[in-house]
Point group: C2
Chain length 230, copies 2
Amino acid sequence: MKRSELEESALLQDDCLVIECDLTVIKEPLVDETVEVQVPPSNLSDNIGNLLKTGEEADVAFRVKGEVFPAHKIVLAARSPVFKAQLYGPMRDKWRHDITVEDMQPAVFKALLHFIYTDSLPSMEDLDDDGNKEMVKHLLVAADRYALERLKLMCEGIICKSLDVESVATMLALADQHQCSRLKDACVEFLVSSNRMDDVVASQGYVNLKRSCPAVLVDILERVTKSRKI
Amino acid sequence: MKRSELEESALLQDDCLVIECDLTVIKEPLVDETVEVQVPPSNLSDNIGNLLKTGEEADVAFRVKGEVFPAHKIVLAARSPVFKAQLYGPMRDKWRHDITVEDMQPAVFKALLHFIYTDSLPSMEDLDDDGNKEMVKHLLVAADRYALERLKLMCEGIICKSLDVESVATMLALADQHQCSRLKDACVEFLVSSNRMDDVVASQGYVNLKRSCPAVLVDILERVTKSRKI
């Protein structure tokens, strides 16, 4: 309230303003902190993950190079629009219980299912460094195939952190092929800011990249040339 | 290595120990932070929650006082052992698609389903303070009925924070009836540390508590008496 408004109002009597306060004193004691209830963290992913672990009540089975993976259609459909179309779309075969997956290693499909059911990557402790990198690359391809955007980003993030002269060209081709804009940006950034372009050009990945996606290379080489001039 | 072991070993020559270090200098630049991949938070509960929202591919329907709630058996079974027994146990009826739920309000069953699919409580913004308290009480009962331990703890936690002289006796009876040890402890603590036992005794909840679970009261009254003597 403005001073002028107050001075003109009826609230002011004999140049005095009376403010009345009601004060309530709550005598009830607060409940002791020792009995505060600790709610455990969400166990949704554990519960859904258990379905995969036990395979109980599975209503579909995937055959991947001889290995069989039982699964639950509704979980797959909830998580992946590609599985949804395959399992419930107009082209589905109601009575088909077995689905064969081509062009994928069983270990990769297993990791894919783990992500679908739990929203996390499986432990890759039993893989060596190279096996780990291969798995992440294949998972990125699988994530793109089944439109699992979050898994794709997780794989992109892991690959970004392990870029080196030998692998960068291969990863750039991978990123270009599977529309991974962040990984592509990281590869370009790596190449432009690296002073080892000669080593990169000598790598097998570069030879393949030049053959498969020459257009991508043009932009990069232009940028590298420009940065060297400065 | 112990000093005595070192002094006796062949590693020590002319009273000297030579330590050789290999140092590798990595010249490759780190990838710029601007291209670091941001992975969004888990969307598992959103994805599973969408199944409930859309009701797509539901394979069971619950009738609750005239209202019908479509649901997915595998999700219910993954989350609640009681639903698992009901839907997949030896006593199940394979061809029964409709299940009638007795002794529950439709709004409570709806909130229960929301928790099962998303692991969170639904928004209760449209309820007033009393309606909110009633809902939490009923949800606690439903959580106990379907063995949803985490939901039960969430409800206990909310009730603990709103205990007052009028409600504490009723909540103590509720806690006793549904084996909520934390809520029971909080109620006892409230009664013992409160100086308004006379007001509590005058409440309707106390009358009911005295009738339904007198044994619980004996312990409390003993403790109150003891604390007053001091």
